[in-house]
């Protein structure tokens, strides 16, 4: 094998559809960030570097057979739980929440690891379990979800806890846990809502009240939502054009490059751009679902299905909060928001999808 064949071989594991989506998201991300950062090359290069690292990791994961990923799942889950517990006891407090673990100058958010470790471990569990319809399968699943959920909710980081919990519930759904459990879960959630309200922190309540009525305090707590909706709405059909977004450039819109990057994008590129962006995301998500459908292996299809659904969930939550149909929670827009940690998680997740696709295994 000549050297360039050897070098290119790992790339053969990449899925063309998903890669197309990733590259398009990368271009969109760089464009929005370049405009939002007052045309700072430095910021764009930093994001480009993150993409490069992310894609490298993606290729690496895509070339790891699912069996090996599956073998790691229990250890990953155990490590994740341990780190979350340590974070609660000894984590770095920042702005009142303990979410980070520090080793020297490096900080790390164990909940980020949990975003993948929990689905992996659940897929591991359900793929080896013969009778998924048995009640024990459901209870075990709920317990495995509840442990990281409660640890993260205690930090407090309710947004992330809810996302991780949702990923777990998706997994149980795809694994074939009986329907009655999901009905029960929905009823329980409806009943416990008012009770949980009392346990929320003041600022969390404030966020929900603000979501229900942004005009309560238009220049205070409601400011984010209102400014974000103005940004999206004023973009119109064609958008104001690249670099012409006044909401972002005059700094009416805070966090225009991180959690609210979608608003800046919608302002400058309009409905046309938004539909293109959503289509790109759907391309990735639907391709993921097809990979799940085609997989002959229980672990592969469970993890592929769940990761695709979770990926969509992040997109929905982020765009939902930016456009005012969901309360504000700190969720980045996958692969577009400025920042490295979350991007790495998404890249690993997409890598797992490709690995499932590239390593077909017929069920014996």
């Amino acid at each position: 094998m000549s050297w360039h064949v050897r070098l290119l071989k790992p790339l053969r594991k990449l899925d063309p559809a998903i890669m197309t989506g990733v590259v398009m998201l990368m271009l969109i991300s760089l464009a929005v960030i370049y405009s939002g950062s007052q045309e700072s090359i430095r910021v764009v290069l930093a994001q480009l570097l993150r993409f490069a690292i992310g894609i490298l990791v993606l290729v690496l994961v895509a070339n790891t057979p699912p069996e090996r990923i599956r073998a790691w799942a229990p250890a990953l889950y155990a490590t994740g739980i341990l780190l979350l517990a340590i974070t609660l006891v000894a984590g770095k407090a920042n702005l009142g929440a303990r979410r980070w673990l520090g080793v020297g100058p490096l900080t790390f958010q164990p909940s980020e690891l949990m975003k993948l470790a929990l689905p992996l471990f659940l897929a591991y569990y359900y793929s080896q379990r013969e009778n998924v319809r048995h009640w024990l399968s459901a209870v075990t699943g709920f317990v495995l979800i509840a442990i990281p959920f409660l640890l993260i909710a205690k930090e407090p980081d309710l947004g992330t806890a809810a996302q991780i919990g949702a990923a777990g519930v998706f997994m149980m759904w795809l694994a074939g846990v009986r329907r009655r459990w999901f009905v029960a879960l929905i009823i329980l959630a409806a009943i416990s809502g008012p009770v949980l309200w009392h346990f929320l922190h003041g600022y969390q309540k404030e966020r929900i009240l603000t979501f229900l009525d942004p005009q309560r305090d238009p220049l205070g707590a409601g400011y984010h939502i209102i400014q974000s909706m103005i940004a999206v709405g004023s973009g119109g059909f064609w958008g104001k054009g690249w670099f012409n977004g006044t909401q972002v450039n005059l700094d009416f819109l805070p966090e225009a490059q991180t959690d609210f990057v979608f608003a800046g994008f919608a302002e400058e590129f309009g409905l046309v751009g938004v539909l293109l962006l959503i289509s790109t995301y759907l391309l990735i998500v639907l391709r993921g679902l097809v990979i799940a459908y085609e997989s002959r292996d229980a672990f592969g299809r469970l993890i592929a299905g769940t990761l695709s659904l979770t990926f969509f969930l992040y997109i929905f939550i982020n765009m939902g909060m930016t456009t005012g149909i969901l309360p504000v929670v700190g969720v980045p827009l996958p692969l577009v928001s400025y920042g490295g940690t979350a991007m790495l998680t998404f890249m690993v997740g997409l890598g797992i999808l490709m690995s499932v696709h590239a390593h077909p295994r017929t069920h014996e």
Binding site: W173, Y203, L219, G233, F252, L271
Partner: protein
């Protein structure tokens, strides 16, 4: 497992995948509808809002509360000065503007650094501070050439100011620049517009009171970011003024007496726990912290062998030396380990029965047989070695705990140390060592592991001065000065009071005998750990200052109706009576001389 199952499982999986895909479709439709609504349906509405939008909410910082001494003298206030600001979107090139500004007035590298930092965090229409405290000359020079500097403005800005400089560095503390890590997310709004936060001392303790609550104003900005006009929405709520129990004159007397020394002075009103003075030497100028400390100042403070940043009266743990004797004696009387008039054998040294080691008295040859009152007066070590052995380490420790040793006093300052009352259990836990009896002996004269802060010593002294009540020391004036009655008989306390008076009139504190006010006190000399001693306990190389003992003095006055209790520690000061005593006297004289005039209420 039969062969049909995988196929059935997969059919079910496919069904559920389809349900999920359905959910995705519904949610995507919801999103698209909402975005369509915003961008097409209501586009005109939002487009108008975006061009007129332009109301920005800017916070108005509240005035920070003053800190006053007991007579209303200002110890910390906000000073208004003229400052130079640059508004980024008006000044086209801030870098270049600063370069040109440098031709008419100095801009230090630190100012520039802070400006660059703020620039990357601020909104473009928000003026960013470049220079504070413009002199009239600089002001005039700039005013003349102002038209050449668009976006550069003169503003009035307030800045925390400590008029007495280093005098109250550790008591009042200081404010410093607010860093994001210090404020919890839910409190962010409470710090809108504020750039400093109490970092130490009273400034930190009463941060929430002093800070006030920011108000806000609506600022209308045009599409290019220029300010059109402003409207007040909520006025700020000014910070509360804190009136302290500190007495400027007494604090000044303490600082003056401590010039050139390292150590601490605490003066309390024994009747209610009011802290009249609390000084830690050497001190530093808190004004240097207000704007963010420069690296040069910071490293010089950090590397100073005198550790000026250390709060010695609150956190300094010293062996109390012989100043512990009145408290040991009172515990012994209460526990009937000795009677007040009982004479114990004296001599040059003490030996634990059955052992060889000799524990020497400080006075060569010793004092001879003495009763308790004489033993305190002359600071008879051999007497107290015996008392300590009679009580035993645990009972002795329990007795000292009554006076507040080994526990935080509850003073209203952050970071208080608790000191140490050692015990066999403590020694095992802390150092994994076994207690030996010699440690009990040393504890009787306030040596060994026994450690006390100057504040604890002053508080304990106050409890003898006021006839047996433990006060809670405080710096903020309060009507509620709870005292806790101690379990000691008035007769026993009277014996100790008499002995402490004797110590000053005819004992180890004789150098203070011709005092203006009747002082009762007790000297102490705390052995420094690494001092080398010869066989008889004499310090070798006692000319080397670092090896000299700490000098301590506790006192109260007037002896009959005490109004002030003082503890003084002079590190490496040598003998307590001659070095620490005059400091205590200066503080007492100042207080009793000035307090006779009625207090002024401004």
């Amino acid at each position: 497992m039969n062969a049909v199952q995988p196929a059935r499982e997969h059919r079910q999986f496919t069904r559920r995948l389809l349900v999920a895909a359905g959910l995705i479709t519904v949610l995507t439709a919801l999103l698209v509808i909402q975005i369509f609504r915003l961008q097409v349906w209501d586009h005109d509405l939002y487009a108008t809002q975006s061009t007129h939008n332009t109301i920005v909410l800017l916070p108005i910082a509240p005035q920070r509360g003053l800190i006053l001494d007991r007579h209303g003298q200002v110890l910390a206030d906000d000073q208004t000065g003229f400052a130079l600001t640059i508004t980024p979107n008006k000044a086209m090139h801030p870098e270049e503007t600063i370069q040109r500004l440098r031709r008419i007035l100095p801009v230090s590298a630190e100012d520039q650094q802070r400006f660059n930092h703020d620039l990357s965090h601020a909104r473009p229409y928000q003026p960013i501070l470049l220079r504070r405290n413009l002199s009239p000359g600089e002001l005039a020079a700039f005013a003349v050439q102002r038209h050449q500097f668009p976006g550069v403005d003169i503003q009035t800005r307030t800045k925390r100011h400590y008029p007495y400089g280093s005098l109250f560095a550790h008591a009042v503390g200081y404010v410093g620049r607010l860093t994001p890590a210090e404020v919890r997310e839910e409190q962010m709004a409470d710090y809108a517009g504020l750039d400093s936060i109490g970092k130490s001392g009273l400034e930190a303790q009463y941060e929430t009171l002093l800070k006030g609550q920011p108000g806000d104003q609506e600022v209308e900005v045009d599409a290019r970011g220029h300010t059109l006009h402003t409207r007040l929405r909520n006025p700020p709520r000014e910070g509360v003024t804190i009136r302290t129990t500190l007495d400027l004159a007494v604090q000044q007397a303490a600082a003056k007496a401590m010039i050139g020394q390292q150590g601490a002075v605490v003066a309390l009103d024994p009747r209610n726990g009011d802290i009249l003075a609390a000084y830690s030497a050497p001190a530093f100028d808190p004004n240097a912290f207000v704007d963010g400390l420069s690296t040069a100042v910071w490293s010089s403070l950090r590397d100073d062998p005198g550790t000026p940043m250390a709060n010695r009266f609150l956190r300094g743990s010293y062996p109390p030396g012989s100043t512990i004797k009145p408290f040991v004696a009172l515990s012994a009387l209460r526990d009937k380990a000795v009677a007040a008039d009982q004479r114990l054998a004296g001599g040059a040294y003490y030996q634990i029965p059955g052992t060889k080691h000799k524990y020497y008295d400080w006075k060569p040859g010793g004092h001879g047989a003495q009763n308790l009152r004489e033993a305190i007066r002359d600071s008879n070590d051999v007497y107290f070695y015996q008392i300590a052995m009679r009580l035993g380490a645990i009972q002795l420790g329990n007795g000292l705990a009554h006076f507040g040793f080994g526990q935080r006093s509850g003073v209203d300052l952050p970071g208080e140390s608790a000191g140490v009352i050692p015990s066999p259990v403590w020694l095992r836990r802390r150092y994994g060592q076994t207690w030996y009896q010699g440690q009990t002996v040393m504890m009787g004269i306030g040596q060994g592991y026994l450690l006390s802060t100057p504040l604890q010593l002053a508080r304990a002294t106050a409890s003898i001065a006021n006839g047996g009540k433990l006060v809670i020391p405080h710096m903020k004036q309060t009507s509620d000065s709870a005292t806790q009655p101690l379990d000691f008989s008035p007769e026993d306390i009277a014996v100790i009071q008499g002995a402490m008076r004797d110590a000053v009139t005819s004992g180890t504190g004789k150098s203070l005998a011709n005092d203006l006010h009747a002082i009762a006190g007790k000297t102490g000399t705390a052995q420094v750990h690494h001092a080398q001693r010869n066989d008889s306990g004499r310090v070798l190389h006692d000319t080397v200052q670092l090896w000299q003992d700490h000098a301590l003095f506790i006192a109260y006055a007037p002896a009959d109706h005490p109004r002030i209790a003082v503890a003084v520690v002079v590190e490496h000061g040598g003998h307590g009576g001659s070095i620490a005593g005059p400091v205590a006297r200066a503080v007492i004289d100042t207080y009793l001389d000035t307090v006779t005039t009625p207090e002024v209420n401004p």
